[in-house]
């Protein structure tokens, strides 16, 4: 160690943090492709910050200026299209990764003891991302922004007694206007973003306290070698840092391919109605949410009563919070629990079906599938405590399953 390094190490917590979270953080060696999602989300968060910062430089949060300023970035700013498309497509990719990340946690029981808080904090991050995305797509003040903002903020109206007052407070007036843009911008770039960053740090700290789960769902800490480190564990750095570097490369390739060759991604990542300015006199034929919020919208719509729909949606959104306590099987990973695995696959397929239905116009032929989808979604959480208690289970191995490449 050089003189300066010694001097620095004496005064800084960084070397110690590096050891604790990177060089001497032992992770199971049998991570599969799903385990890239976590580090990729971190990467995407940085990308969103950089592109968002550059957009904020040019954005004008007023009713008259917002839409023009956003297109000013597209047309007039050098590489403005790159910034804008990266920010827009980044949102969809983040949600793709979030769903991948959560699906992996559900498949391998990563939410189970002792990682309940890791799951709960992670789920709060997901909800915070939903809020962040919502505030974000109001800001361009397109017609979709206007009507989506109107629909979503009107949800607050169903709060008993104070609903009207809360709605006015959220909107900054009786309807969506330039005042709404001001407060949504503050929420989008300051409050919610900082909450996400803080929660991500907390999520990682809580994870590193208990250690990572793995596809076999067994605790590597219960099997330590003579050196005191888990036999099936490898230090995060360099093993997973180089592996994630490779993951970054593959992911960046996909990200860049979308930005350069299909920036609207078939108008799924950037909806058509985003390209026309806000107009209070021209309502959209159907206001559908972006694909990543669509499953919850389908459930909201499946009940032909506003308050009933809102209650169902809230139940659907809140159910995953108690997932760690609904699962009562001693085995974590569904690799050894066939029934739960099948239930999960049905749950995932159903979630995709709900996302599709939520994008369709509100026509009678979709009501039955929507209700069925809502029933399957809620049914999964209701059945899990009983199924997990009764299902046949195989004994997980003592050591993780790993083939050297």
């Amino acid at each position: 160690m050089s003189g300066f390094a010694k001097w620095f190490a004496k005064r800084s917590p960084l070397p110690e943090m590096w050891r604790e979270h990177m060089a001497e953080y032992y992770a199971p060696k049998n991570f599969n492709i799903f385990y890239y999602a976590g580090s990729l989300l971190l990467l995407m968060l940085v990308f969103q910050f950089v592109s968002g910062f550059l957009i904020l430089v040019h954005y004008v949060p007023t009713a008259g200026g917002a839409y023009d300023s956003v297109f000013g970035i597209m047309y007039d700013v050098d590489y403005g299209w790159l910034i804008q498309y990266a920010h827009v497509d980044g949102v969809s990719l983040i949600f793709l990764l979030l769903y991948m990340h959560m699906a992996r946690g559900m498949l391998y029981g990563s939410y189970r003891a002792p990682r309940e808080l890791v799951w709960v904090i992670g789920y709060i991050i997901y909800l915070a991302f939903m809020a962040e995305a919502f505030f974000g797509y109001i800001l361009p003040y397109s017609n979709l922004s206007y009507w989506a903002g109107t629909v979503i903020t009107s949800l607050f109206k169903s709060i008993p007694w104070i609903g009207g007052w809360v709605t006015t407070l959220v909107r900054g007036g009786t309807g969506i206007s330039g005042d709404t843009l001001g407060r949504f911008m503050a929420l989008h770039v300051a409050l919610v973003f900082l909450v996400i960053v803080a929660l991500v740090v907390i999520h990682i700290l809580y994870l590193h306290k208990v250690g990572s789960n793995n596809p076999d769902g067994i605790e590597i800490k219960e099997n330590k070698g003579p050196d005191g480190h888990p036999i099936d564990g490898i230090p995060f750095h360099p093993y997973y840092s180089v592996k994630d570097l490779f993951g970054f490369g593959v992911w960046l390739f996909i990200f860049a391919a979308i930005i350069f060759y299909n920036p609207t991604f078939f108008h799924i990542f950037l909806e058509r109605t985003m390209s026309t300015p806000a107009n209070a006199l021209k309502s959209l034929p159907d206001v559908t949410p972006p694909w990543y919020l669509s499953p919850f919208y389908a459930m909201l719509r499946s009940i032909p009563n506003k308050n009933g729909g809102i209650i169902l949606m809230c139940v659907a959104v809140l159910f995953p919070f108690i997932l760690p306590w609904l699962d009562r099987n001693p085995v974590k990973s569904t690799r050894f629990r066939l029934v739960t695995r099948i239930m999960l696959l049905v749950f995932f397929a159903n979630f995709i079906m709900l996302a599709y239905l939520g994008e369709q116009p509100p026509l009678p032929q979709f009501f039955l599938p929507e209700r069925l989808g809502a029933a399957i979604y809620v049914g999964f959480f209701v059945l899990l405590p009983f199924v997990s208690k009764m299902e046949p289970t195989r004994t997980p191995p003592k050591r993780v399953h790993y083939h050297a490449h």
């Binding site: 060696k29 599969n32 492709i33 799903f34 297109f71 000013g72 597209m74 047309y75 007039d76 299209w81 790159l82 498949l107 490898i234 360099p238 093993y239 180089v242 592996k243 570097l245 490779f246 970054f248 490369g249 593959v250 960046l252 390739f253 860049a256 391919a257 930005i259 350069f260 060759y261 920036p263 609207t264 058509r272 109605t273 985003m274 390209s275 026309t276 690799r335 050894f336 066939l338 695995r341 696959l345 995932f348 397929a349 995709i352 079906m353 599709y356 369709q360 116009p361 026509l363 032929q365 979709f366 195989r394 790993y402 050297a404 490449h405």
Partner: protein, 243 residues
Amino acid sequence: MRIRKKLRRFDMKRLVVVLGLVGFLGSFSPNGYAEAHFELKTPHYAFNKATIAAGAKLFAKRCMSCHSVKYMRYEFMKQDLGMSEADVEKYLMLPNGASFKGGMVSAMPPRMAHKWFGVSPPDLSQIIQYRGQDWVYTYLLSFYRDPATPSGWNNHVFPKVAMPDVLAPWGGIVNGQGKVLKKGSESPAKFKAQVTDIVAFLRFVSDPSVFQRWAIGPWVLGLIAFFTFTAYLLKRQYWKGVK
């Protein structure tokens, strides 16, 4: 041991395939719109700078009296399409004191337009992003004579539209049943080609980054691919020791 093998077959690859299939099949379901779908396909055309420049000239001549593409600046025609400044001034810029660096804005005052048509003609900068090129192509070819409307014109895909069929002198006039009332000065094939050029121009205007994206894209992807390959070799080297 055998059960274990069987269960392992349930592995991730299979899950990904199943989920992918579900999503794929879902995308084929009919969307159930009750109204008849009357949409033509834009004929195949070469989406290149020459087509777009031809479309720009037609747009300036036949559309820009009323419609702006305000986010587009005249200078972009030189920068992005390689038109000469003299050509831009001669064919595109209206003699209304338009500035080469300024936006392509119609000379018609919106207030007067509103008075004349009941609605001011919308800015078309984002029309292809908003409607899609097939819709715009179909719309331009779907006008017909309708004595019942104030303007005397109607449109199959945009009923009771305020815009008259300004392309009638070239495309001709038809009635609601498609019967030709008056022939246009252009042959139907040439007229359709001209409309396609206008659509190509509007498509470019909707996203003028397209040529820059296509030009840099391969380099960016190549660089990332190279990085990924290097990272893969690095990963393999490190993981050799993991048993």
